[in-house]
Amino acid sequence: MLSIWKFIIKFHVSIFFVILEIFAFLMIISYNKNKEAIFLHSANAFTGYIYKWLNPVFSYFAVKEENKFLIEENAWLKNVLYTFQRFDTAKFRTFQDTAHQQQYLYKTAKIIYNSISHTNNYLTIDKGRKQGIEKDMGVMSVQGIVGIVVDVSDNFSLVLSVLNSKGGISAKIRNNNYFGSVTWDAKDYRYVKLNEIPNHVPVKIGDSIVTSGYSHIFPQGLPIGVITRFFKKGNDNFYDITLKLFSDLKAADNVYVIKNIFQQEQQQLLKKVKNVQ
């Protein structure tokens, strides 16, 4: 017994060191597995408020750029709107559309913390549970998709960025509807990879990639990026495709949060089928 105490006293620094390291590693692993396991991220109250208080300073520099995008989007929306109006007035009658039901709701939010330099990047936005944000909502900027909400606190939410090696967003080629998933290889914040496209599919440089709408998170057809490079991998049956993202995540500031009203219903249906199998 005495020798054990002697050992502990002699090596107490190293033992303490090992304990702290084990503790840190456990945190890394549990955080990698489940975002809610440890509530020490930047969407918690303390760090959230500090970032929110600081945000005006940084967003001031982005105002000019942001305005330009908003005007562009407004112009696009106006085009769409007037196209539909003309179509309606040509009919000379009003009709009730019973087939269409609104599935997606959009809300605005502001990014208060953003990172692009890690391997697994997260954003914090300034709205949370109290403002109606829930887990698994999509987040997009004016230019294109940004990420998916993974955790919410009362007033803030944590968003898994597209630039996260753990993410995977269901996407398709707009021209021919072949679908795959978008992931990040943690190299350049402007480029991501499109996986699972078989190599018999006709692919061109400059093809637009949009969301597929299969994931219950994003509606169909939201812009993601354009193909800048593709080649056939050695023995694999799939292409290696590199996309340039439409949204500049370094400058993203204001975003839309997308709520899928039927998300739960869709998920339950899927669960039921899986249980049967």
Binding site: V13, F17, I28, S42, N44, S115, N120, Y122
Partner: protein, 169 residues
């Protein structure tokens, strides 16, 4: 006497954390999108006499604070603890016990060359563990190493410059 010293270190701590979180984390050096890390400075400046266990504990807390702000739970923590564990070894391999007596680990007490070596070794240990733990894989090892070396140079430069501009005493 003691409390004024303690206050001074708390001041450096707050400055290092806030400067890191509010300013440096918004900066991205373009080729590899790295943020330089200045907050390690606080751990480098702790007095020579600090006991090893206290050093480890402070390292852990500082790492955890930064982790909370950057959504990298545990990564900074593990690397700062690692750095604090090796700090005494680095110090005593660079200087004898007599050199250290009555001095502080700053440029003004220990000289420029000593401080450069001290900073480079410590920052390299920190960044080495930081970037490998962040990626959490050994594939793409060369790219990670490139990141580590670039980041070490930038962070060390910043830490050494800060000695001339901010902590003049």
């Amino acid at each position: 006497m003691f409390s004024s010293k303690l206050l001074q270190y708390i001041g450096i701590f707050l400055f290092a954390i806030l400067f890191q979180v509010l300013i440096l984390n918004q900066v991205r050096l373009t080729p590899l999108d790295l943020s330089p890390m200045l907050y390690i400075l606080f751990l480098l400046l702790l007095p020579f006499e600090t006991s090893k266990s206290i050093l480890l504990l402070i390292g852990f807390l500082v790492g955890l604070t930064i982790d909370m702000f950057t959504n990298t739970i545990g990564v900074n923590c593990a690397s700062t603890v690692m750095m604090c564990y090796f700090r005494p070894n680095i110090i005593f391999s660079l200087s004898s016990r007599d050199d250290v007596k009555g001095n502080k680990p700053t440029i003004h007490h220990m000289g420029l060359m000593w401080f450069i070596k001290y900073t480079l070794f410590s920052v390299f240990i920190h960044h080495f563990f930081y970037y490998y733990l962040e990626v959490f894989t050994l594939s793409n090892s060369f790219f990670t190493l490139l990141k580590i070396i670039t980041a070490t140079i930038f962070s060390s430069l910043l830490i050494i410059c800060s000695q001339y501009f901010i902590f003049k005493e």
